[in-house]
Homo-oligomer: 567 residues x 2
């Protein structure tokens, strides 16, 4: 089989202006970036808000394993199949971060015959939105340190005389706004900045841009005015009296909005068979809220009968955050959930070694089923129908696939279908598409997992026990203190964005399958006043990945024609 | 008068595809980014290389003062006037760095009625090239630290077993590749990275992206293959035996090329009156080589009779580096030089205070003339004709302008003309345009200032004495050592990129006018093997600016229509 980039480059790409027109965008509602990408103007958002909305299909997965479950391949394959069946369908996906592209994954545009094309444009820069998030984020960071520097250097009175601004008296040891970079850069996880005469000297760090609160702001904003308001609310630091300092007070929120002016517009691309796809924002689902943007969903739902989106990682991660964070911000909930699993991944949950994973092993499958069952039950907690998609690999046996299908149905799945989208594109996902269409006939009885009315502590307990199956939560002393502060700031009724490992439904990556009897540790809480959620840290969660011993960048190059190779 | 952004927004902008066609680009040689920006494909470069080249006009200025001389306004006004006169003309300019945009200047797209439009697109992101430079640069930085981390953690043998790569044994205290950011961020000037278990722990810093060697590589490359070759040659670090480690050896040069794949294509925009302008790369002229790209020049010269470009800061900076670095890389030299001066700036060189600068003062002007005379003579050293453009301000008196014109002619200027481009656009620069056209009738006798054949020390001495008027140079012990190392590496015959203050023709910003009898200190030398020059540091030169007490970002915002305001 050809490589992903070879397949992408062989594809007959439809001019993006034609894709936009077919989707129902008016000529003045998009701007082409070459013939393969288009920015969708927010005037389209205002227009389609008045139209009846299509149905939302959310693709999620079992708990990830090192083998890869193929969730994005399934999302794109499903979109391709629905498009081939003549449905008005659009995919809404996140823009890949360059960190993992160069670090581990190679690319994140689907794969095989289920791809967004051109895949190298999606994986590198696209229309620059992630760069804009980094730039806006780091302007605020530079502004904070510069303000402290000048106020300390000049004294409050002289500072005010020279600048015409009131002194803010920011406490340099209480700045809560890091810097960001869209790379896997371990060396920036823990740094000391402002050395020499460039103070304040202080401990700090870089996060990966996907974890920036600005990425969440961009993803959760309903329109430009909402984004501007959220930017003003960003909590950057505390002053020497413990009073919060916002981006509005620092005078930097307007410039951040100017930097993000084009990034708030979704980018239109296409699948291999010419179905439209809106790419917008890129929050990770472990350290952020893991879903593409509200604005892209709104536009897509206003112009299509079916929208396919995905939540990052397993259903305890991106799906949960879609239901409890994004659905609250947008009022849009899934109508049907597709849950991706593979034979290999289920065996991996049973502890089968990589070298043995290809062999038939019903016992291991039966043990690993606990994880699939957990995720089926998890989706059901939200009142939603669930279609299990078994992403079939060439060496999967019929008997195991048959067994898995029966077991998943018995566990409560509304349907179970094989997907061969990687190998066969749209043709490989027609059964899955038909099952999804059937599910969408029934009304969903969506419910959030927890009410935010009862306060943050209750929300945390509900999410941990009913959401993950923990027996209880345990707050560290620091988290207790932060909880008290958040309550004092009147931000007690925001939803939770749990930062936790994606490798287990618990906080402990070693607990595979469907762990029970664990206590979820909450070691820190962070108010994201602009995004509108409180991040809870279930253990020491890394917000800046690192490059491995054999990183993905080694394979990439340009050839003599200037074409990118190595994806 | 309207603000710059108001004038820009009032402009009737021609669809960029029409500008491209008028310029002579074929339909398959450019990709539109909306209707106002287009990326020029490198197939155009290959085609026009066979055509006769037009003439190159380089706009430079006297030594900068806090009053602003209006060099970019003059460059754009001259382009507009030549276009209005019916000449086939194109401007080639640098992309503004966002650091100064948010720090001090507001914008850098010209001003008044001499602008590149839409000015906010030029000032923010444009087509993302500077972001691409940051991303490629920082990937290499992350790759270096990650390699040291894993080799130290695992030991050489185990590292090789796991990765399949030979150990490089990089000396963590001898890494010569910083990180970069396109902001004025003082707190990142001196930092300590790799704390905790994320080592190697070491002293490091961020430079502004305009100072990245990658920016110079992009600006000096002749085509994609040349860029790829230069990327491989980038000197990143030394191993524990003092042997240089290149980007090729680290295996990161290919990925950097992939990241820069679109950034190597110039971006086409237009002036207020519809003249084409290629925007490409953005090296500062004090800490870098200060000129837009070779590729943009080649394309523009192949399609036009006249190309207007500018070198950053005074003629001792960007102009000198054009003649001694860029002209060597490209074979393209200026045919005519425009030297911008103002009455206010010359008085400022005489020490007149800001509060007094508006009053007629022939004595001060006579004293400040020494600086203008210095720059006229400097251009003449290169065998080039020079037209002095007096950027006229509303309160300038006729008698002073008349006096200045006579003095400049007496000092050797080939012509002296007033420019009123800020107030009147093309109409304000027709006399200047006519004088430039007249100058271009005569052949230029271009010569480099120094021969690189005689080695780096000779080049430094020539540049300091003949170039700046110093009596001698003085190398620090460190510079002596670095010189020996560069000689040992066989890189002794590269041209020099002097990092020095732009506020004096000497190294000392306090020495105004035409200083003599100074010794130029060289405190450091850095081999830029990819860019193909050696950076010499004349004193402790800051490569990361800082935000001031009242930074430019305070004014910026979006309005209720989403339009950017505050430029």
């Amino acid at each position: 089989m050809l490589s992903d980039i070879q397949i992408s480059r062989q594809t007959q790409i439809t001019p993006i202006a034609d894709i936009a027109a077919q989707m129902g965008l008016h000529p003045n509602e998009f701007r082409c970036y070459g013939t393969t990408r288009a920015k969708v103007d927010l005037t389209a958002l205002a227009r389609v808000a008045k139209q009846p909305r299509g149905k939302m299909v959310l693709v999620t997965a079992i708990t990830p394993t090192p083998f890869g479950e193929g969730k994005t391949v399934t999302s794109i394959g499903l979109t391709q199949a629905l498009h081939q069946l003549g449905k008005r369908v659009c995919a809404c996906l996140r823009q890949p971060s360059m960190g993992p592209v160069f670090g581990i994954k190679g690319g994140a545009a689907g794969g095989g015959n289920a791809q967004i094309v051109p895949m190298e444009e999606l994986n590198l820069h696209l229309t620059g939105d992630i760069h804009a998030v980094s730039a806006a984020h780091n302007l605020a960071a530079a502004a904070i340190d510069a303000r402290v520097h000048h106020e300390q250097r000049l004294g409050a009175e002289e500072f005010t005389r020279q600048s015409g601004l009131a002194a803010l008296h920011i406490d340099p040891q209480h700045i809560v706004w890091n810097r960001v970079m869209d790379h896997n850069d371990r060396a920036l996880r823990s740094i000391r900045i402002g050395l020499g005469n460039n103070g304040p000297e202080r401990q700090s760090s870089f996060d990966i841009t996907a974890a920036s609160e600005l990425m969440a702001v961009l993803a959760l904003s309903q329109d430009l005015a909402d984004m501007r308001r959220r930017l003003g609310q960003l909590l950057l630091a505390f002053d020497v009296n413990g009073v919060p300092i916002t981006a509005e007070q620092l005078g930097v929120a307007g410039a951040m909005a100017a930097i993000l002016r084009e990034a708030i517009e979704p980018t239109l691309m296409q699948t291999i068979n010419g179905a439209p796809c809106l790419i917008h924002t890129g929050p990770f689902a472990n350290i952020a809220h893991g879903n593409s943007s509200v604005i892209a969903d709104e536009i897509a739902l206003g112009l299509n009968d079916i929208v396919v989106t995905e939540g990052g990682f397993g259903s305890d991660m991106g799906f949960e955050k879609f239901c409890n964070i994004k659905a609250r911000a947008s009022g849009i909930h899934p109508d049907c959930v597709v849950l991706v699993a593979t034979l290999k991944a289920l065996k991996s949950h049973a502890g089968v070694a990589a070298s043995e994973i290809h062999y038939p092993n019903i016992d291991a499958l039966a043990q690993g089923m606990s994880n699939l069952n957990w995720h089926i039950a998890n989706v059901k907690k939200y009142g939603l129908p669930v279609v299990v998609a078994i992403n079939r690999f060439p060496d999967d046996t019929e008997s195991e696939l048959q067994w898995l299908t029966e077991q998943a149905l018995a566990a409560g799945a509304d349907a179970v279908e094989l997907s061969l989208a990687f190998a066969h594109g749209a043709d490989g996902a027609t059964d899955l598409a038909a099952a999804v269409v059937a599910c969408l006939q029934q009304p969903a009885n969506f419910t959030h997992l927890y009410s935010t009315e009862l306060g943050l502590l209750n929300s945390l307990q509900q999410l941990a026990t009913r959401g993950y199956g923990a027996s209880a939560i345990e707050l560290s002393a620091q988290a207790e203190q932060q909880l008290a502060q958040i309550v004092a700031l009147g931000a007690d009724h925001l939803p939770i964005c749990m930062a936790k490992t994606q490798m287990s439904v618990s906080h402990d990556p070693r607990l595979k399958g469907a762990p029970t009897d664990f206590v979820l540790p909450i070691v820190g809480l962070k108010l994201n006043a602009g995004a509108g959620f409180v991040t809870a840290f279930a253990g020491n969660i890394m917000t800046m990945p690192g490059l491995g011993v054999k990183p993905g960048y080694l394979k990439l190059d340009i050839d003599e024609n200037g074409d990118i190779q190595g994806f």
